[in-house]
Symmetry: C2
Subunit: 472 residues, 2 copies
């Protein structure tokens, strides 16, 4: 049966497009962190939408599961097959063409396997900006960004991947192609189907291409580092910056002292911008499309106002792009630095911005009660209400013992998130890692409707099963 | 049966909440233009989400159709009942509370019946901006804005109603309440259900409340009027403005000479900003959250650059808010002025911005071939690719004869729109007026999926039937 199917898949994509030798499969069966590993009957690498449709149709006829996969940089195992060895991994990485860049329409039409950075570069070459930006941008693909509704550092100003998308092309679970590749900013002719596929993590169909929005290129920037007394000050700082910098505010990251301490300790060349430690820090970035935009004056006046109001304790504005990069290095180094302190339990949550102070206070207290001496590494995209609430063991604690608490500690954070009307997955999705636990935090009508959508689009359950939906 | 149901509805909403006397019903049975008229068994006016749920549940038990209605300002008959007299109109206008305004989270939670202007005013009172703005804002409701994914003049910078929405509360067709009132900018925990209801024109459930995004208030503005040789110049002007004004560009409207001529002829006090006529005009608005933002310098430099490139023939920057209002008056007066020239056939289409010049050329030629001497009144939100392609009869032509051509002329415009990958309804929706014709312009897979969604959410077809979906 499987051999038969593999033969038919070879007819669709050519012999080189189907990998079934175990040695060739390895790179497709685990995620990049090696947190999830599966097996597969084959990995299929189609080169066109028609080939994807052919593959999906053959698998559907044979009753075989398809697991769509992009750059394999997900954090929740959403693109990793199960361990049955009967699933087919559908890798989109050969479909990486920029089909069209329409500068006057400020849109780019790209295939799902295009690497995010290649899209950023294509936009830049046309004097434009594709603003999605995240750590994995050198290897993650547009299809994966769409399937997970990716976020990152640009959301504050430009929104998530959903907000950046005007049209989609999708292969439906039965192999039909839906061509929704429209490049329109206004279109109200019935249900907006593309919204159903964005963020569905490949469980409702295979996204093969998209029309994405472009923006004017950024031509000036100002970056500052500010010391804050507490999370409430960060919330107040957002207000001051929105008021005094408006749309120029394109980056706002919050870091606890401990987060920065880890970077200072483990990251070569990292330097504290201030002589004395402060409880919290914010990284502020303004940008403008004008080459001469007076941003230094704007950022200084905003930080001055924040200082007057007692929101900011101290601040420094980068005087060169090297200094700005050093400040961003303090923020971007946290995740790696934390690994030097033993196992890192990661959580990606969001709450309404106004509730962050009370949320942090309550969550910290509950975590410290659960594991005295626990080291909480809180940082994130504060302007979106998105915190990466990461945990390190107490100094001198045992790694395995700490790892064994992972589930219970996640519960502590998620219960608190839920109490503040937040989300237990802000920008990482559910994949296989959170698909069961989400059932405890979502209302039953919503789960019913989600199951109904799955049943409608994929009645036979062949499209990336075991992801997103609890109990399915 | 109906009397029975009316009795049960009275139990839910109280006697005053159910209107069944024909004299009381009139205002709910026709749209504001009197283009669509129906009849109804009753009009029900619930005061809370629980009452809406009760009404919908009772109607569902009785197998009676519910037609949700807001401010009744729609242009496609989406909120008007049919002529059977057996449908129940569910008016949301009593549910108009601003439930919560969270300035730090930059969100407002409002009930569906809140009038758009009241939401704008609540935001302004908190020093913030709710940017949706359209002609009917004094009477249209948030529920209607959501149901039609409303657009208007702010889309260029702030997006459509969909982009402005973070959470929804919806009464499902069986009377269950789905509470999706989340105020989060990042939330990826499964399918994003709210997207299904936005733009569905009340055919999948009744939206009862929403969490909407707010923005910093605008504190300075610059407005200019520019003369252009042709539509290509308008497209080029967008490029220049995006490049040199960036996010400050918040308004960009295009008008043909004929559109402006009609206003100059029929609108008291209207004055041509230039001595000589020009083929096309653009209205440009920049705005900023800073009170002193140097916008006049930015707009002058951008228009100067456009003049250098031959994109702009002449331009004037408003030197006072009265002058700016006079310029906006030329744009906003078009629709009313056109009524003085006989019947006005209105169309609301969008195409990719880059294709506007060829689209206008081909469409104009086809219309002139169909009706020699036809007067084409083209204007719209050019920055969104959205044109209101309106038609007036030839000078001296017969009204009824021209009206009789309405269907055929719409076909000419829609065929051309479709040839340029556009949308036959950019911001007005389908309602009852376009629900059949849309079948000719959408691919059959998309129609299948739309019908599937309808079947999933409303299997008995009791929620606003006869709208949106062809043949249903």
């Amino acid at each position: 049966m499987t051999a038969d199917l593999i033969g038919r898949l070879r007819e669709v994509v050519g012999p080189a497009g189907v990998l079934s030798d175990p040695a060739d499969l390895a790179g497709y069966l685990s995620d990049w962190r090696n947190a999830y590993t599966g097996t597969a009957a084959a990995v299929v690498r189609p080169g066109s939408t028609e080939e994807v449709a052919g593959v999906v149709a053959r698998c559907s006829e044979a009753g075989v599961v398809v697991v769509p996969q992009g750059g394999n940089t997900g954090l929740c195992g959403g693109a990793v097959p199960d361990s049955s060895g009967r699933q087919v991994v559908l890798s989109l990485t050969r479909m990486r063409r920029i089909r069209d860049l329409d500068a006057a329409n400020q849109t780019v039409t790209v295939e799902a396997g295009a690497v995010l950075r290649s899209v950023q570069e294509a936009a830049a070459a046309a004097g434009l900006l594709f603003p999605l930006s995240l750590g994995a941008e050198g290897s993650c693909t547009i299809g994966g960004n769409l399937a997970t509704n990716a976020g990152g550092t640009g959301v504050l100003r430009y929104g998530t991947m959903r907000d950046l998308t005007l049209g989609l092309e999708v292969v439906l679970p039965d192999g039909r192609i839906w061509n929704g590749l429209r490049g329109l900013r206004k279109d109200n002719t019935g249900y907006d189907l593309k919204q159903v596929f964005i963020g569905a993590e490949g469980t409702l169909g295979v996204i093969t291409a998209a029309v994405l929005k472009l923006f004017p290129a950024v031509r000036s920037r100002a970056t500052a580092w500010a010391a804050l007394p507490d999370p409430q000050a960060a919330v107040d700082l957002i207000g001051v910056l929105r008021e005094l910098a408006g749309d120029r505010l394109t980056g706002l990251e919050l870091m606890s002292r401990r987060s920065v301490e880890f970077v200072l300790r483990h990251s070569a060349g990292a330097r504290d911008p201030f002589g004395d430690p402060h409880p919290w820090y914010a990284l502020v970035e303004l940008s403008d499309t004008l080459p001469v935009a007076g941003l230094d004056a704007v950022i200084e006046s905003a930080l001055g106002e924040a200082f007057e109001r007692g929101v900011v304790l101290d601040a420094v504005v980068a005087s060169s792009s090297a200094q700005a990069a050093a400040l961003w290095g303090l923020r971007e180094g946290i995740s790696v630095a934390q690994n030097h302190e033993g196992p890192s339990l990661k959580h990606d949550v969001s709450v309404p911005i106004s509730r962050i102070p009370a949320f942090v206070e309550r969550t910290d207290r509950a975590l410290e009660a659960a594991v005295p001496g626990i080291r909480i590494v809180t940082y994130g995209h504060i302007g979106d209400g998105n915190l990466h609430y990461n945990l390190s063991k107490p100094v001198g604690g045992d790694d395995d013992e700490f790892r064994a608490r992972a589930g219970a500690l996640a519960r502590v954070i998620y219960d608190s998130t839920c109490a503040f009307d937040g989300s237990i997955s802000a920008e990482h999705g559910l994949g296989q890692s959170k698909r069961e636990i989400v059932a405890d935090y979502k209302d039953s009508h919503e789960l019913d409707l989600m199951r109904g959508l799955k049943q409608l689009f994929d009645p036979r359950g062949l499209m990336n099963p075991g992801k997103v939906l609890p109990g399915l």
